[in-house]
């Protein structure tokens, strides 16, 4: 992963989430990726929880046309006017060199640059405190919480120093269970998703 890759620019936002637009040529970040949006005091951190490709009139026409050539398809993809949109969930912020696992005091502004977090930034954010940002992920019924959590844990796990990975993972799972133990259905879904990632089979394939 390249350091501090720009993920796009902010389209709209509130204090809980924002939508970011980017061009397909920018290789939009993966689902579950962690981004930050720089501001005057520091950064606002977020997770990509949705990536959507909206249509326009030309796409609709092309979709209903037979035998669309590869050139046309590529031209439509690369030169489209409508950006790829990413929904970002805010999970914390940094102000005066301090990390906070809570919602930012104010939303970022439109066209703010959105940057993909480096491993160092992921490690710094995720190893701070006691996973307070899990609240934002797990308590939002509109999110695909199980998959988002699993994707985030996978990414963050890889960002931890090798010697700390298991300890970090165990602490993260413990917090997930603590937060969801009053919600058996949700807990099961999240743990199943997490288990898929961390099961021995997955690890073997990864290795």
């Amino acid at each position: 992963m390249m350091e501090n890759l720009t993920a796009g620019r902010l389209l709209r936002a509130n204090t809980r989430a924002c939508v970011v637009g980017c061009h397909i040529r920018q290789s939009p970040p993966d689902f579950g990726s962690m981004i930050f949006i720089p501001n005057q005091d520091g950064k606002t951190f977020g997770l990509v929880y949705d990536i959507h490709v909206d249509d326009d009139g030309l796409v609709r026409q092309l979709a209903s046309t037979e035998n669309v050539s590869e050139e046309v398809i590529q031209d439509n993809r690369l030169n489209r006017n409508t950006p790829i949109e990413m929904s970002i969930l805010f999970i914390g912020y940094e102000a005066n060199q301090m990390i906070f696992h809570s919602l930012p005091p104010h939303p970022p502004l439109s066209l703010d640059k959105v940057v993909l977090c480096s491993e160092n930034e992921i490690r710094r954010f995720t190893s701070f405190g006691h996973f307070g940002y899990f609240r934002s992920i797990l308590n939002n019924p509109e999110l695909p919480a199980a998959d988002l959590t699993a994707a985030h844990l996978n990414l963050a796990y890889q960002a931890q120093p090798l010697k700390d990975r298991e300890r970090w993972k165990n602490a993260a799972v413990e917090m997930i269970i603590t937060l969801l133990r009053d919600n058996p259905n949700m807990l099961n879904q999240v743990l199943f998703a997490v288990s898929d990632i961390f099961s021995p089979q997955s690890n073997a394939q990864e290795a």
Partner: protein, 574 residues
């Protein structure tokens, strides 16, 4: 599972989640349930106070019942499954709080120093154990008691009068019994057959003798306490009290002249004079001799005719059926029971019936017309001098012998101790020697039918003021009269299977509902529950072994202190 800990180290096991004085406290365990057990001695630290209690139940629980139904090991990787179980499944321990002690602020802090100074200056009462009157706060930490906690509550083995009776089941910390308190009131040792009652009794009696806390009189119905014996289960030699403490300390008394106990001659023999037998001794045997309602009237007439000390001999010498010819017809002879009955307003059939039934006593070889000495008085004198007596019944093992001898001897003892106590209280004599009478098969003497007629119930109720208490040993405590059971201070109880027996042992005690299950689930051997007035709080113990190490400690000349310390090290090397 045995969990070892360093001296002074407390093992944290969880924290208080709810409960109350009546409902007991609930501890959420942070350790596997197998780390603790029912009966564990628990310390809860809450602010400046420590609470002491006993675990009475362990319960599995889940944050949501669905978590318990899900087999996490099948669905999740091992580490996640472990986390899942840890967070969603739990074990709660129910703790019956018993005592509380102000421990003050954290030692080493300025607050502690100030607190201690207040005590030293007399501005604050020195902390002492109190019955629990309040409860620890939420989330107070709970610990398995360490050796110091046990010693704080039950006393230190090196203290005078404290005797190790066993050890805690989980950590093997020695548990002492305060012998002075034990003998202040009557006490009981209970347990079904084969649960180690006799060994426990030997251990406690040894402690009393070793620490010279009281003279001990043992009614040894089955000849197992005085001389060496062979254990019925292991076949190993078991030392008797005489072997442990020598002839000068423990004397074996055999019933009847020429008695022997398994081929060994006793130190002296106990014989009764006809004069010793009082009408009340006979009335107490009503059930055993199948006496009628007319017995009391007949006995009264006999006493009126021959006196309290002469009636038995006179009645014994009468002929049951003697007749003479008066010149006209056959009439009762002057030596006959009928003749006497006719002349004293007693129905002849009632007198003849009693005479016939008393023949079982008349024929007893240990009841003599003119015994060579007053052996009952000899027993009493030995006890007064601080000796210990084991009265072996030898071949006289019937209930009739046991009831008659034990009641008669105890009645004489009671009279003597009442007399000497009254002299002492009047300032005209020395303080009487404390006496403990150990009674085996106590239900035979203390059952509902005859308890009120025997001296034993009087001793259990009143005689602590006169320096005499009972050590009741029985396997059917439910058969013992309630009024007597309620007077028993200390109760040492092995496994009991019968609900009525369990109920009887716990009668009159606080928290009996919680303790009932514990009693029912004791190990069949070597486990006992100590409870009652003589111990600060109930505690489950693994009883001390009656083995070579114990013998060595008892045979050591020193009474206490260092030898006990050596014994602790020998017994509990870990």
């Amino acid at each position: 599972m045995s969990q070892k800990q360093l001296p002074g180290q407390s093992i944290p096991i969880g924290y208080v989640i709810d409960g109350g004085l009546k409902a007991n406290l609930r501890i959420r365990l942070s350790v596997p349930p197998t780390t603790t057990r029912e009966g564990s001695f628990i310390v809860i630290k809450s602010g400046n106070w420590q609470f002491y209690g006993i675990a009475t139940d362990l319960q599995l629980g889940a944050v949501d019942p669905r978590f318990a139904d899900t087999s996490s090991s099948q669905h999740f990787p091992v580490d996640i499954a472990a986390q899942f179980k840890k967070q969603t499944l739990h074990t709660d321990m129910v703790v019956m709080p018993a005592l509380m002690l102000e421990s003050g602020p954290e030692p080493g802090t300025p607050a502690y120093a100030a607190w201690q100074e207040e005590i030293d200056r007399g501005e604050r009462e020195a902390p002492s154990l109190l019955p629990v009157k309040t409860i620890p706060s939420h989330q107070s930490d709970a610990f398995l008691a360490n050796a110091g906690d046990i010693a704080e509550i039950f006393g230190k083995p090196e203290q005078d009068g404290y005797f190790i009776i066993g050890k805690t089941r989980e950590q093997d910390h020695p548990v002492c019994i305060n012998l002075d308190k034990l003998i202040q009131r009557s006490s009981g040792i209970f347990g079904a057959t084969g649960t180690g009652k006799s060994f426990l009794t030997r251990i406690i009696l040894s402690g009393l003798i070793k620490h010279d806390r009281a003279s001990v009189l043992v009614y040894d119905m089955h000849n197992e306490y005085g001389l060496d014996d062979t254990a019925s289960d292991t076949g190993l030699n078991v030392k008797g009290l005489r072997s442990l403490f020598g002839k000068s300390g423990v004397q074996i008394v055999g019933l009847g002249s020429g008695a022997d106990i398994r081929g060994i001659s006793p130190d002296f023999n106990l014989t009764l004079s006809c004069n010793d037998i009082m009408p009340e001794d006979i009335e107490m045997l009503s059930r055993e001799l199948n006496l009628r309602e007319t017995t009391a009237a007949t006995l009264d007439a006999l006493v009126q005719a021959f006196g309290r000390t002469g009636w038995f001999k006179a009645f014994k010498d009468m002929e049951t059926e003697g007749t003479v010819f008066d010149g006209e017809k056959m009439v009762p002879s002057p030596e006959s029971v009928t003749f006497w009955a006719n002349n004293h307003g007693v129905h002849p059939m009632a007198a003849k019936g009693l005479h016939s039934k008393l023949k079982r006593l008349f024929n007893k070889k240990y009841i003599l017309d003119n015994p060579p000495s007053d052996s009952i008085q000899a027993v009493i004198e030995a006890l007064k001098k601080g000796r210990h007596i084991v009265l072996s019944f030898g071949k006289y093992e019937t209930d009739l012998d046991y009831l008659l001898i034990s009641n008669l001897l105890t009645r004489r003892i009671r009279e003597e101790w009442e007399r000497t106590t009254n002299i002492f209280r009047n300032g005209r004599g020395p303080e009487p020697r404390q006496l403990v009478i150990a009674v085996e098969e106590a239900h035979k003497l203390l059952n509902r039918e005859i308890a009120s007629q025997t001296t034993f119930s009087t001793i259990a109720r009143e005689m602590r003021k006169y320096y005499v208490t009972l050590l009741v040993i029985d396997q059917r405590p439910s058969q013992i009269y309630d009024e007597v059971m309620s007077q028993l201070g200390t109760r040492v109880c092995g496994w009991l299977g019968d609900d009525d027996d369990i109920h009887a042992v716990l009668s009159g005690l606080a928290g009996r509902d919680a303790l009932r299950g514990m009693l029912a689930r004791l190990q069949p051997k070597e486990e006992a529950l100590l409870l009652g007035w003589g111990v600060p709080m109930p505690i489950l113990i693994q009883s001390r072994r009656y083995d070579d190490a114990f013998y060595a400690e008892m045979k050591n000349k020193s009474k206490k202190g260092l030898d006990q310390q050596r014994a602790i090290e020998a017994l509990y090397p870990d």
